[in-house]
């Protein structure tokens, strides 16, 4: 093993990444855009989970106060009112799940339509029905409580997911896809003709990608924090180790993809086959709490699940490194397994 050779390969790979302005820029810009997009969405009323259609109303912005529908519906949080000139137009939107419930304006009694296959429609129906009931009937029947302390905003919960997702894509495409391309174009064959060993080459690729990803994640974090002031409950030292372990594990998966083959299309498909289930099952965008047991079990087999779980525990809940030791252990164990598989099956040539 020669550190001189590894260093030369490490430096060369860093040059390759940083000088490829399109790729480098996208690695920084992509998470910014996602976080900014979600920031915009969640700071406006476009995130209202329920959409209530009302017809007939005059064209232009809906004058909510002038609508002849129950007042509590007009002022309810999380309900966005959408106006339609005609019933036909409104029914079409309801049919296609663009609105959840449709109410007739100025009807003598609360007249509404719903799409029987829409769960949100059924919930909104209950809200609509409750809106015409005298609230005094609840007196003495209910006790309302709120969770104490600072609430975790959705954007705070989402942010670690966006960073981890970016690391996942960059690890798999930046290592797996790139090495397959190098094999196809003969770059690896040229390296095999030198004293460079597979261990030296793969180590240099991995270290380069891990450090670059940690750096870009820091830049994205810093940039996003300026705009959204993320709540960081835990220690930055602890979160660094979680990101290091998570990145190492995801890059190791990239090495498995990279170990054989010269077909970039196949590598692309394989990477997507790995990424998409992880994106949905590892709770990048939404929680899978309440899903069936087999879904939760499958999620536990995915490294991104443990990466995100540890990151959110530290960022959102202020956990310490010892409190995420299970997740860290799983990530390190998976890294060793993936690295061993990738190294064992690695081939320089076609």
């Amino acid at each position: 093993m020669s550190f001189k050779r590894m260093w030369a390969l490490f430096v060369a790979r860093n040059y390759e990444f940083i000088r490829d302005r399109a790729g480098f820029g996208w690695n920084i810009l992509f998470p910014f855009l996602i976080v900014a997009g979600f920031g915009l969405i969640f700071s406006s009323d476009a995130n209202s989970p329920f959409k209530l259609g009302v017809f007939p109303v005059s064209p232009g912005p809906v004058a909510i106060e002038k609508l002849d529908i129950p007042d509590r519906l007009k002022h309810a949080e999380y309900i966005k009112i959408v106006g339609f000139e005609t019933r036909d137009e409104a029914m079409d939107r309801l049919l296609h799940h663009k609105i959840d419930l449709l109410i007739e304006n100025k009807a003598s009694r609360l007249t509404y339509w719903l799409n029987d296959s829409s769960p949100k429609g059924k919930v909104l129906e209950k809200i609509a029905r409750e809106s015409i009931v005298d609230e005094r009937i609840f007196l003495g029947q209910l006790e309302r409580n709120e969770i104490p302390g600072e609430n975790i905003r959705y954007i705070d919960w989402l942010f670690p997911g966006i960073l981890a997702m970016n690391i996942m894509f960059s690890s798999l495409f930046g290592v797996g896809f790139v090495i397959v391309r190098y094999r196809r174009s003969g770059v690896l064959k040229r390296l095999k003709a030198t004293p460079v060993t597979a261990f030296e080459y793969l180590t240099a690729q991995m270290v380069s990608r891990v450090l670059i990803l940690l750096f870009t994640s820091f830049v994205v974090w810093f940039g996003c924090d300026l705009f959204f002031s993320f709540q960081m409950q835990g220690s930055y030292f602890d979160i660094f180790w979680v990101f290091l372990a998570g990145t190492l594990c995801l890059v190791s998966i990239g090495l498995i993809i990279a170990c054989r083959g010269t077909n970039e299309e196949l590598a692309n498909g394989f990477i997507n086959f790995i990424c998409w289930p992880m994106m949905f099952l590892s709770e990048v965008w939404f929680s899978i709490e309440g899903s069936s047991d087999w879904v939760k079990g499958a999620a536990q087999a995915l490294p991104l699940t443990h990466f995100l779980s540890a990151a959110r525990k530290i960022i959102n809940d202020g956990a310490t490194l010892s409190e995420v030791s299970f997740e860290m252990g799983v990530l390190l164990f998976m890294s060793v397994v993936f690295l061993s598989i990738g190294s064992f099956f690695f081939s320089w040539t076609k």
Binding site: V11, A12, R19, V187, K189, A193
Partner: protein, 245 residues
């Protein structure tokens, strides 16, 4: 342990792909300080043979000896290879590429000497993705010579070069021979082989069908024939005129 007369010696080398033999038991030796040409039509088994000698692919059968012994870990330190179809790292300059590859070896000649030898001065600061095919050939030749190798494999080194650049590559090869280096050359240019090689082996269908110096082959196969007295005539006579691949 083999005799040290040959710097490289292959014995009964075989290789098959999907059961179809690509190299069917060939043997030859290459004396040190000479230029050995391996010729043959497309699909004859040249590339497979050379890649086995280069240690890029493993042979199915047979043995390869370097300096009289089986190849060891130092083999890659002492050889230089110029592949024909090889891309370089796109966003490295030519000079950085040479420096990077130089770091792979225990010793290498000064980068500036390689730049001068391969006439890369005008493009040394260009990124590899901004150089022409001919310039890339010269960079690849430079990479093959970086470690001052005892044995150099050149796979069609002058393909894509203009006549001036080709003459320059030939001069480099002649200079290497003068310094006692051994060259294994594969080429489709018969003129190139005739000019540079001390020994030529002609391959077809995975076997060596003729071997000798260019003069010997011309004398043996063109004597009294109504052919031009050159290596191309020998080649066509031995391998036929029908198209391959």
């Amino acid at each position: 342990m083999q005799s040290h007369k040959h710097i490289l010696e292959v014995k009964e080398l075989t290789k098959a792909y999907n059961g179809k033999p690509a190299v069917a038991g060939i043997s030859f030796g290459i004396p040190g300080g000479t230029c050995f040409g391996l010729l043959g039509p497309n699909g004859a088994g040249k590339t497979t043979t050379v890649e086995m000698m280069e240690n890029i692919i493993e042979q199915d059968g047979g043995e390869i000896f370097y300096k009289g012994e089986k190849r060891s870990g130092s083999f890659n330190q002492e050889i230089g290879i110029q592949f024909q179809h090889t891309e370089l790292l796109s966003f490295l300059t030519v000079k950085e590429t040479l420096k990077t590859f130089g770091a792979f070896y225990q010793k290498h000649v000064p980068i500036e000497d390689v730049i001068e030898l391969c006439m890369l001065q005008n493009i040394e600061n260009n990124w590899n993705n901004k150089i022409s095919g001919g310039q890339r050939q010269r960079v690849l030749l430079g990479l093959a010579l970086l470690n001052d190798p005892d044995l150099v494999f050149l796979d069609e080194p002058s393909t894509g070069l203009d006549p001036q650049a080709r003459q320059h590559v030939w001069d480099i090869i002649r200079g290497m021979k003068k310094k006692g280096k051994t060259i294994v050359l594969t080429t489709h240019y018969m003129e190139e082989a005739q000019n540079l090689c001390d020994t030529i082996a002609i391959m077809d269908k995975g076997r060596i069908i003729e071997q000798g110096s260019p003069g010997y082959l011309i004398e043996k196969h063109c004597q009294g024939e109504n052919y031009p007295q050159d290596l191309e005539s020998v080649f066509l006579k031995l391998t036929g005129k029908h198209l391959r691949e």
